[in-house]
Symmetry: C2
Subunit: 429 residues, 2 copies
């Protein structure tokens, strides 16, 4: 049967992984796809570099966008990365030329996905992105097809392996963030500039994409509230443990009465929940549907192998003619549900203060919480050290974020409160 002819743009980890997989597993892929999948053209900047992959006989383009016009290319794999320059230029050119695109570029999809999906719909062309979210876990397929019969209520994800590795190490060994980060960098689990990962941006890109397909609305990255893990201390991880929780960088996309709530922040989750058990560089996606209940998927969220597995799964779908709209429904049926601001979040909180151990401090703190209509679930002063700093840990019943923040601002300004309080949301999954 006629092979599906693929052009791979970008020969970094992802592009090279895809070429390696298509080479190593050619027979399996052909059987699953119903026909061979053959790479016929590539694009990358430095032609001379040895990438350890078989490139002989492939057409080479300096300009990635030119791949879209090659008449012997049926599908484009965009593995360039980035939100400006040649990646978006190639994707637009390919969709405009009526050629399906497979991309692992979460940043591009999160920031320009609404426009690109509209272009794909207009041209009736597939824009596939299984590899953009949770690496090798078939999360896009599971949510968009496998659970398609459900009204989904919530998606919760551990979507960044670097952060999960750091938090896992901090807990397992009682070390601080800076030490865990340095080690992750030494091991290659974190970049030299870790901001994109540890500040939650990469994970938020993926969450925005999951929210779009879970709730069938155009991706809206700007609506995601984002906090990273730099502020998490070994002390809070230890105290969480004592309270029966684990701290995870959690992405949450939920349907509420007022619209779609999307947020990425450290959260305390019950230690017995499957999500709390996902450790190290693994990712997980939990979906809740009205008929299916809770489904949890776990696997490797990054790396050449898992990413190539996801990219080629998309190619196999294309080879078989299995087509799904970008956000799961036709453009005309996309929802216009508004986004809910973080201020409207309702739930319990963990609040940890360092206070001077002297009479009256606790009374002042609790009075402030009362004034904001926040009711306490527990209050614990750790140890006694008159006149010195001691940690005070408070957990609350459900309250509104805006009330909690207002109370926090007052508490942080108290003379007896010695450093900025730690505030971590508790999520009962």
């Amino acid at each position: 049967m006629k092979p599906l002819r693929v052009a791979v743009a970008g020969l970094g980890t992802v592009g090279a992984g895809v070429i390696t997989l298509l080479h190593d597993n050619a027979a399996t892929v052909a059987a699953r796809a119903g026909r061979p999948i053959a790479v016929t053209a590539v694009s990358a900047r430095d032609r001379g570099r040895d990438r350890g992959i078989p490139l002989a006989g492939l057409r080479w383009y300096e300009d990635a966008a030119a791949l879209a016009l090659d008449p012997d290319v049926d599908v484009i794999v965009e593995a360039i990365g980035g939100t400006t320059g040649s990646a978006p230029a190639l994707v637009r050119a390919a969709l405009a030329a009526g050629k399906p695109v497979v991309t692992a570029n979460k940043a591009l999809l999160a920031e320009h996905g609404a426009e690109l999906a509209a272009l794909a719909a207009e041209r009736g062309v597939t824009l596939a992105y299984e590899a953009a979210v949770a690496g090798g876990i078939p999360a896009i397929k599971a949510v968009r097809e496998g659970l398609a019969a459900n009204d989904l209520t919530r998606i919760v994800g551990i979507l960044n392996g670097t952060c999960n590795y750091i938090l896992t190490q901090m807990r397992a060994r009682g070390i601080e963030f800076a030490e865990a980060l340095a080690e992750a960098q030494r091991l290659g689990y974190a970049e030299a500039d870790p901001a994109f990962d540890v500040d939650g941006i990469d994970a938020a890109h993926k969450l925005a994409i999951l929210a779009a397909l879970a709730f069938a609305r155009p991706v809206d990255f700007a609506a995601v509230h984002i906090e990273g893990i730099r502020g998490i201390s070994a002390l809070d991880i230890r105290l969480a443990e004592e309270l029966g929780y684990r701290i995870k960088l959690l992405g949450i996309a939920a349907r509420t009465q007022d619209g779609i709530d999307t947020r990425m922040h450290p959260a305390m989750v019950p230690a017995t929940h499957p999500i709390a058990r996902v450790d190290g560089v693994f990712n997980a996606v939990m979906a809740e549907g009205d008929f299916v209940g809770r489904v949890v998927l776990e696997g490797r969220g990054a790396g050449a192998g898992p990413t190539a597995s996801a990219v080629v799964a998309d190619l196999i779908d294309i080879a078989r003619g299995r087509v799904t709209p970008v956000w799961g429904v036709e453009a005309a049926l996309l929802s216009a549900a508004p986004s809910v601001p973080i201020d409207a979040r309702v739930g319990p909180y963990y609040l940890r203060l360092m206070v001077v151990d002297r009479p009256g401090v606790i009374a002042d703190v609790t009075a402030t919480l009362r004034d904001h209509a926040i009711s306490l679930e527990s209050m614990l002063q750790r140890g006694r050290s008159p006149g010195e700093a001691v940690p005070v840990v408070i957990t609350t019943h459900d309250c509104e974020e805006r009330a909690m923040r207002a109370a926090m601002a007052r508490i942080a300004g108290m003379e007896a409160v010695l450093e900025p309080p730690a505030l971590i949301r508790i999520e009962h999954l």
Copy 2:
């Protein structure tokens, strides 16, 4: 757009659940499917019974197979169950008439799936069965499409919620099998006649199906080695715990040098592994691929809601025209890999004996193991009670099942060994 017209045969839990979902989530389903999915005909025995579902206006057939000939039916949902009588008659009639079939009938697929898949291939018709394995978990889609780029090495599953519930209760509360079973029956988690579940047959049906699509060969239920959980004691669960293991009824399908190994039996798995943490009525499927690594899916394995979620996901695929061969590849490409007998299993074992506490017994037991070339990893006599019965626990290094069984037969025959030894395979996942 033209609705997809569905006939539902069988109005028990599954059939009624499907009709309820298609009614309650009609708008979501239509959006995801690209067109409405409408039930137009049903079949069940007792027309008079109130099933609490909307049946007005639907054509009613006494004879399920007649649904296949209704010109106003596009797709058949077979929710009758059973491997003889009207279920297989309907599936055959529908496929012969060129109508896609969606079934939740694992027994039918496991026992007659090879023939039915061949008929579906011959007619070019879809035979879909997401609901047959692991209920609401999109395991079929994940393995057959999501991980399609991989050479899969192994599938491991917790595939029967009744058994998992019983084992979870036995561990959590230290109770014996009989008590846990009686309670599961009271709560509706186990049938009055529990044999199908607790003897491992239901789970083995699902494993046979997973093995077929993981390794792209016609389903071969007869090749599955099956042991249930009746022989598991509270003592062995407690001892497993002390050794760092949990006992689960595990389905394993693995590619070995000699062919495909498929077996369903209680196994000890490391307590820290995600599979060990799947408790209660939940199911899980772990797949290992050469590029993706390990992926674990967890969710509800049974019940009206999860099963309907899976059935309707299949209907949505059909409505969208997304087609996949039954075992993932065209009939001509199916593998003829042989099945490996359980005798050839190589791995560690847990052996627990009740022996008379007197000098020389342990020496006799260990000499017998040595004579069968089985090397010990650990040996532990629990407590001392001269002249009385005490448990002796042995764990071995990797050895062959046939050697272990031969040694066991000799050991069981020793005068000082007081009851049939417990032998449980240890699986390092």
